[in-house]
């Protein structure tokens, strides 16, 4: 038996009474403990770009290593399909189990680079292959690409179809020529992830991390439902771990927001920040919202839900009490802010407002520096310098910055 619940905590548990309206941030962290159902399994379609450019820096060879890692780590019940695409898409290996390992290995070894890039066709093949997986398994499509695709519209419509089918697609861009906006759209629409792979040598490790994480998936098709009390307004819902993603939610908060898969590994389980606006009230304890999560357990097919959790806020005139905040939530709020500033800086750049972009990047740098995020801080320093020198940012800097500040936790691969 496994137990599922959600930790719900307020950034500032006490707020000033009889004052003006206040914003309040609530952390929502799903938690899964206990034994998983024995029938739980992972089904993955690995979609590999084999267009001509993949031969540069041996990218395809590294992608093949990733596929071999996937095959090596198939557990009983896990299923893997491999799709290759250039201007056409083909199922190199149909959805199979570890029993089909030797055929899969041969198929992977036979993949050769050449041709153009039409990713949408491959997404369709992957989705069709994955429709054969059991509803009880955790499914995911993992796409690796290094370039722009010629069929962007089809990619977008395929992303919507996958979203309808409850199938997350995670997109991995290697190098800097890929279409950041498109890969982000696909991942956000389907509740997958978008990641930037620094160099060809990191391909295998990064993809293995995603597969490892899929195998740890405890819950799929999770939805978070927020019921605000009278007078309380919902402003936003963000996933902040493992990366920063905005989930559109209406001000009334009604309706559930689909948040995708939940890992049983506490280090990569998603965490969410909910922003509320609280009305003025006299002193006393008030439930400002009820939050519950609906989900399907991997290995089972029925939909379940957690107990509704109360977000309780204490209205008080005691300013000492009001000053108390939760430092863990503060860290997440700051990470989200840094990511937002970099995204806003990117927009300012596009609009040609270099001064504003510099201001935003400098603010983001102050935040990441304070949080001790050395890597991102270094990148931000470089970007600010680059901007000062040339008045613009290279595509490479933009890509690494955007994905670097979005990502708040790294996925671990198969231990080395």
């Amino acid at each position: 038996m496994q137990t599922v619940d959600i930790i719900v905590r307020s950034y500032r548990p006490s707020v000033l009474s009889d004052s003006e309206a206040f914003s309040q941030t609530v952390l929502i962290a799903p938690r899964v403990s206990g034994e998983a159902a024995p029938t739980g399994a992972a089904s993955v379609a690995l979609v590999v770009d084999v267009s001509g450019s993949m031969s540069v820096e041996n990218k395809l060879e590294h992608a093949k290593s990733a596929a071999q890692l996937f095959i090596d780590h198939l557990r009983p019940g896990d299923r893997l399909a491999i799709v290759a695409f250039d201007q056409d898409a083909r199922a190199v290996a149909p959805l199979g189990t570890s029993a089909d390992a030797s055929a899969m290995r041969a198929a992977v070894a036979a993949m050769n680079p050449g041709g153009g890039t039409q990713m949408g066709k491959a997404m369709k093949v992957a989705r069709q292959l994955m429709s054969g997986r059991g509803a009880e398994s955790a499914g995911r499509v993992i796409i690796l690409t290094d370039g722009e695709t010629a069929d962007e519209d089809m990619c977008r419509s395929e992303a919507r179809a996958a979203s309808q089918a409850g199938l997350p697609i995670s997109t991995y861009g290697v190098g800097t020529d890929w279409n950041t906006e498109l890969l982000t759209y696909i991942a956000e629409t389907t509740k997958g992830r978008v990641r930037h792979i620094q160099g060809a040598a990191d391909v295998a490790g990064d993809l293995a991390g995603e597969f490892r994480d899929l195998q740890d998936t405890a819950l799929t098709n999770a939805e978070i439902e927020v019921a605000p009390s009278q007078g309380v307004t919902v402003r936003s819902l963000h996933r902040v771990v493992p990366d920063v993603v905005n989930y559109p939610i209406g001000a009334s908060g009604d309706g559930a927001v689909t948040v995708g898969d939940i890992s049983r590994n506490p280090a990569s389980a998603p965490q969410f920040l909910l922003d509320l606006v609280l009305p003025t009230r006299p002193a006393g304890a008030v439930r400002v919202a009820k939050i519950l999560m609906r989900y399907r357990e991997v290995g089972l097919t029925d939909v379940r839900e957690t107990e509704p959790m109360n977000v309780v806020v204490h209205y008080t005139a005691d300013r000492g009490e009001v000053a108390m905040v939760d430092p863990e939530i503060k860290r997440l709020i700051d990470l989200r802010a840094a990511s937002g500033m970099v995204a806003a800086a990117e927009k300012a750049m596009k609009a040609g407002d270099t001064a504003r972009a510099t201001t935003l990047l400098t603010s983001a740098r102050a935040v990441t520096g304070r949080l001790g995020q050395a890597q991102v801080t270094t990148k931000l320093d470089q970007a600010i310098e680059e901007l000062a020198k040339s008045g613009d940012l290279s595509k490479e800097t933009r890509t690494t910055l955007l994905s670097g500040t979005r990502q708040t936790s790294k996925l671990d691969g198969f231990g080395g």
């Binding site: 309040q24 899964v32 009390s229 001000a251 209205y315 936790s409």
Partner: protein, 209 residues
């Protein structure tokens, strides 16, 4: 038997908080009129019904890179003066004045982010001004539509009693409400403060006050 909260809402006996407005009910029954002293800080959340969270948290010794992202089970608080030094970074900062004035829409994407337009009553057309074709929208988005994806008569917001309703006017590139699929022309959706509208390629936010 029913319990009535301080705002006059009736609740079933045994409820801890008013279903309607969230006011604590036990405070009323246990400690009659005097304002309840604030309880000790930590418990920000409690299960709806009685049972306490049974699981004592998976004490996974997930060292290394992921450790920082694991939520601790018990909340520990530190003082953080109010208002925070950088209001845009932390929450619990006072938000904009309570609703008083009329409705507006605000540009939420592109170079003109933050520009506000007043939503006229009883109805307000959003689009691009064009003398030649006789399009005179109350909200003229010509200047902020850098992609030229907004139709001359694109969408309309109508005030109906206290409600604001949005509809698409058969625009070329469509209108979306809170990222909905494209609205069918004439299909009215109720707008709430904070709602997002997409007209063409432009993101707008609806607000009141």
């Amino acid at each position: 038997m029913a319990v009535t909260c301080s705002n006059g809402h009736e609740n079933l006996d045994g409820m801890t908080f008013c279903e309607e407005c969230g006011v604590e009910l036990t405070a009323l029954t246990d400690r009659a009129p005097a304002p309840a002293p604030p309880p000790p800080v930590p418990m920000a959340t409690e299960p709806d019904a009685a049972p306490a969270p049974a699981v004592a948290g998976t004490s996974d010794p997930a060292g290394g890179s992921g450790a920082e992202t694991v939520v601790s089970v018990d909340q520990v608080l530190v003082p953080e003066p109010l208002p925070p030094a950088a209001p845009e970074l932390a929450s619990a900062a006072p938000v904009a004045a309570p609703p008083s004035g009329g409705a507006y829409i605000e540009v939420a994407s592109g170079p003109f982010t933050g520009r506000r337009f007043t939503v006229t009553e009883p109805s307000c057309t959003l689009g691009r001004w064009d003398m030649d074709s006789g399009a005179f929208p109350e909200v003229d988005l010509s200047d902020v539509d850098s992609d030229a994806k907004i139709s001359r008569k694109h969408a309309k917001i109508t005030k109906d009693g206290g409600r604001f309703l949005v509809e698409d006017l058969g625009s070329l590139n469509g209108t979306s409400h809170n990222r909905s699929p494209r609205l069918l022309p004439g299909d009215q959706r109720e707008l709430h403060p904070g709602d997002e509208l997409i007209v063409g390629r432009l993101f707008l936010r609806f607000g009141v006050g």
